[in-house]
C-alpha cells in the first residue's frame, strides 16, 4: 500500500513570496490533516478535512494560509505572503474512516521543509 505522498520535499523562498505544498493521502482515506512543525517542537494541527469539507481550521492563520482538498482526495496548502516565522516542516497525514463515525490511526507523509529568508 502506498503511503502519504508530499511535494516538494524542500522549498526556499523570500519573505512576502507565495508557496504551495501538495499532498496525496493514502488511497481511500477520508480524513486529511495538515500539521506545522517548527524546529524543536511537536507538530501542530493547521487544518483537518473530512472528504472535501473542513472539520477544523481554528489554528490556520487565515490571513495568509489557505487550503483546499480537491474532490476529497489531493490537497494543497498555500501561504501568501510568507513570513519568516513560517519556516517549518509542513506535514500531511491521513486516516481512514471506520464504522460508526470513528477514525483510525493517522499516517504521515515525509513532510516539506520550508525556509523563508
Amino acid at each position: 500500500e502506498a503511503g502519504v505522498a508530499q511535494s516538494p520535499r524542500y522549498k526556499i523562498i523570500e519573505k512576502r513570496q507565495s508557496v504551495a505544498f501538495w499532498c496525496n493521502p493514502i488511497s481511500g482515506h477520508a480524513t486529511l490533516y495538515w500539521y506545522q512543525q517548527i524546529l524543536g517542537q511537536g507538530p501542530k494541527l493547521l487544518i483537518q478535512f473530512q472528504n472535501n469539507g473542513v472539520v477544523d481550521d481554528s489554528q490556520l492563520p487565515k490571513d495568509r494560509f489557505s487550503a483546499e482538498r480537491l474532490k476529497g482526495v489531493d490537497s494543497t496548502l498555500k501561504i501568501q505572503p510568507a513570513k519568516l516565522e513560517d519556516s517549518a516542516v509542513y506535514l500531511c497525514a491521513s486516516s481512514a474512516r471506520l464504522a460508526g463515525g470513528l477514525t483510525d490511526t493517522q499516517y504521515f507523509g515525509p513532510g516539506t521543509r520550508l525556509t523563508v529568508l
Binding site: 490533516y33 517542537q41 511537536g42 501542530k44 477544523d56 497525514a93 470513528l102 504521515f108 513532510g111
Partner: protein
C-alpha cells in the same frame, strides 16, 4: 484543552540496553487514545505504538512497550534491546476518542534519543 508534556528533551542509551521515555498528559475526557511516534532525521513520522484508554492492558509491539497509568495520566515508552536504528526524536501524542470529536493529535515537544554503540 488537552496538553502533552515530555519532560526529557534528550536521552541516551547503550546499544542492547533498555531505556524509558516519559510522557504525561492532561485531559478531562474518559475516552481517548495515546500514541508514540518516531521521527528520524528523514522527518517521516512513524507510528511506534498505540494505546486505547479503555484498555487496562499495556500495549506491546516487539521491543516497544508502554506503561499506561490512567489515574496518574502517565504514558511512558520502554524500548528494550536498543538498536542503532532506534535513534530518533520520539513524540508522545493524544487524541480524543469520543464519536464526533475532532480526532486531531496533540503532540508533546519530543525526546531526542541517542543510541551509543
Amino acid at each position: 484543552a488537552q496538553t502533552v508534556t515530555q519532560s526529557q528533551p534528550e536521552m541516551s542509551v547503550q546499544e542492547a540496553e533498555t531505556v524509558t521515555l516519559s510522557c504525561t498528559y492532561d485531559t478531562s475526557e474518559s475516552d481517548y487514545y495515546l500514541f508514540w511516534y518516531k521521527q528520524p532525521p528523514s522527518r517521516q513520522m512513524i507510528l511506534v505504538i498505540r494505546q486505547e484508554a479503555y484498555k487496562q492492558q499495556n500495549a506491546t509491539e516487539n521491543r516497544f512497550s508502554v506503561n499506561f497509568q490512567k489515574a496518574a495520566k502517565s504514558f511512558s515508552l520502554k524500548i528494550s534491546d536498543s538498536q542503532l536504528g532506534d535513534a530518533a526524536m520520539y513524540f508522545c501524542a493524544y487524541r480524543d476518542g469520543a464519536r464526533g470529536s475532532n480526532y486531531k493529535l496533540t503532540f508533546g515537544k519530543g525526546t531526542l534519543l541517542t543510541v551509543n554503540p
